[in-house]
């Protein structure tokens, strides 16, 4: 049986190279620090970083919440790729060298901790990421049957609703790095999600108002960093292309 339980590489020495910088501290300068720890069975970067904090440096900053790959807190650049640290097993690095950088494109809190929350709240406000009913719609009575929905449509909405706002797509995007106001794939994914939701009554013109410019969908240069680094494998390329076609037909 193929019960690997994380191939045992116990005893190997892992080298964590971590960017250290606390912008709160006056005079602090960015630098790389290396920590060596012994690898354990099924060790993840989550476990490794906690061990470093306990044993070597209690001031090391990083963010984990669910530690199960579902909350999106622990996005960081792992050997050059933005990914979720909590579900990255150390045994996936054959040479045992692990370089960790904070996600770029977000405000740095300290070391590996960045403020994705602020970015995402702004994005949600900007895209108005909620169901827009008809302006004069009466609130639906809660005692009556819910409005019906095509089961396949519900499934398709969920496919896009799986985004966990980890920020990996934004950090992986050269465009977002160069242009501060560029919406980024996370925003497009939410727009695509609400655009396909029959409960949301926004029209193509409404969507054009939100994303019909170079900070929006026309700013996307199709670098595909989002598509190739999304921890949830969301269909970024396909959905952005769809929005682009839709917005061009709305705008011409």
């Amino acid at each position: 049986m193929s019960q690997s339980n994380g191939t045992a590489q116990k005893g190997r020495t892992l080298k964590f190279h971590i960017l250290r910088f606390d912008p709160q501290l006056k005079g602090d300068k960015p630098r790389m620090e290396t920590f060596e720890i012994e690898e354990q069975d099924s060790m993840t970067i989550f476990i490794g970083l906690n061990e470093i904090r306990k044993k070597y440096d209690a001031s090391l900053q990083f963010d984990f919440v669910c530690r199960a790959g579902i909350c999106g807190s622990c996005g960081m650049v792992i050997n050059g790729r933005p990914d979720l640290a909590c579900r990255t097993l150390t045994n996936t690095f054959p040479d045992g060298e692990i370089t960790l950088l904070p996600l770029p494109a977000f405000e740095l809190i300290g070391d590996l901790s960045v403020d994705t929350g602020k970015f995402m709240r702004n994005m949600s406000e900007r895209m108005e990421n909620w169901i827009h009913e008809e302006p004069d719609a009466e609130p639906r009575k809660l005692t009556v049957l819910e409005e019906k929905m095509d089961p396949d449509v519900a499934t398709e909405i969920y496919e896009l609703d799986r985004c966990i706002e980890c920020g990996c797509c934004v950090s992986a995007c050269g465009t977002a790095r160069m242009r501060k106001d560029f919406l980024g794939a996370v925003g497009f994914m939410h727009v695509a999600r609400f655009e396909m939701d029959p409960r949301d009554k926004r029209t193509d013109e409404d969507w054009y108002d939100l994303i019909g410019d170079d900070d929006g969908v026309f700013g996307c240069m199709s670098l595909m960093g989002c598509e190739d680094n999304c921890p949830k494998d969301l269909p970024h390329q396909n959905r952005i292309a769809y929005l682009r076609r839709k917005m061009v037909s709305a705008g011409t």
């Binding site: 650049v77 050059g80 790729r81 950088l101 770029p104 992986a172 050269g174 790095r177 160069m178 242009r179 054009y208 108002d209 019909g212 410019d213 170079d214 929006g216 026309f218 996307c220 240069m221 199709s222 670098l223 595909m224 960093g225 598509e227 190739d228 680094n229 269909p235 390329q237 396909n238 292309a241 769809y242 682009r244 076609r245 917005m247 061009v248 709305a250 705008g251 011409t252």
Partner: protein, 256 residues
């Protein structure tokens, strides 16, 4: 009162109605790129007719000059390639201007992008930078070529083109241009397919993988074709010098 209300209304509309220009410009950038890309592939295939001999190339040249409309079907209207060059030049400038909007706006943005490339080593991201660099190169070298074509369209032919390569020392320009065009074009065409999702089908990821392979194959194919053609012209150019025939126009069947 009424006029104030009107004024308010237009003010409101100004604020509310978003410009349609970003959509148009985005489409224009893609369409101009598509046009240029298709043109360049066609162009190279036509030019590569030299690999089938001077007569083949001459025949193509004549077809392109619409010589079948002339009484003797020998010469042609060189105005046609000249005008084509002007047209392509126009499209080229339009495309360049549209694309430049996307370039790094300042040194800092450029540096950020370079550091992103260094961090990620991600092929599509790197590909875009390749396009920026090749686009930059084409802006200068392509302009030179297009200017020559527009002004000296009568000097296109198996011998005269070869002389331009060798005797007038243009081959290094064409060599660089060849690489720039083919890389820029293939990446651009791939990106167009991705950007608009035209071939996505049921499994966009599989499509993209296939498109990437296709992109490489197309690049290799056209680079090989281009290099071989360039070599053929250079060879003729050298022979022309040796045979003291520089500047002579080739006549159909002359070496047949």
């Amino acid at each position: 009162m009424a006029s104030t209300a009107e004024g308010m209304k237009s003010l409101l509309e100004d604020r509310v109605v978003k410009s349609k220009w970003p959509a148009r410009l985005d489409l224009a950038q893609s369409l101009s790129g598509l046009g240029l890309g298709l043109f360049m592939w066609t162009h190279l295939i036509l030019v590569s007719s030299i690999l089938f001999g001077k007569d083949a190339m001459l025949a193509i040249t004549h077809v392109m000059e619409a010589s079948f409309l002339t009484p003797d079907e020998a010469g042609g209207y060189t105005l046609i390639p000249a005008l084509t060059a002007v047209g392509v030049f126009g499209l080229f400038i339009v495309h360049a201007c549209l694309a430049m909007r996307k370039f790094p706006s300042d040194w800092k943005a450029h540096k950020t992008f370079r550091s992103q490339m260094a961090m990620m080593n991600h092929s599509d991201t790197n590909g875009w930078y390749t396009q920026v660099v090749t686009g930059f190169i084409m802006f200068f070298l392509g302009s030179v070529h297009l200017y020559i074509m527009a002004t000296q369209a009568d000097k296109i032919g198996p011998q005269l083109s070869a002389d331009r390569m060798w005797t007038y020392g243009m081959w290094p320009l064409y060599l660089i241009l060849l690489f720039a065009v083919e890389m820029h074009g293939a990446i651009g065409m791939y990106r167009l397919a991705i950007k608009w999702g035209v071939f996505d089908g049921k499994d966009p990821r599989a499509t993209r993988k296939r498109l990437k392979v296709l992109k490489t194959l197309v690049t290799v194919f056209f680079l090989s074709l281009g290099l071989a053609s360039l070599a053929a012209y250079v060879k003729i150019g050298i022979e022309n010098v040796e045979n003291n025939r520089v500047g002579e126009r080739y006549v159909a069947g002359q070496e047949g």
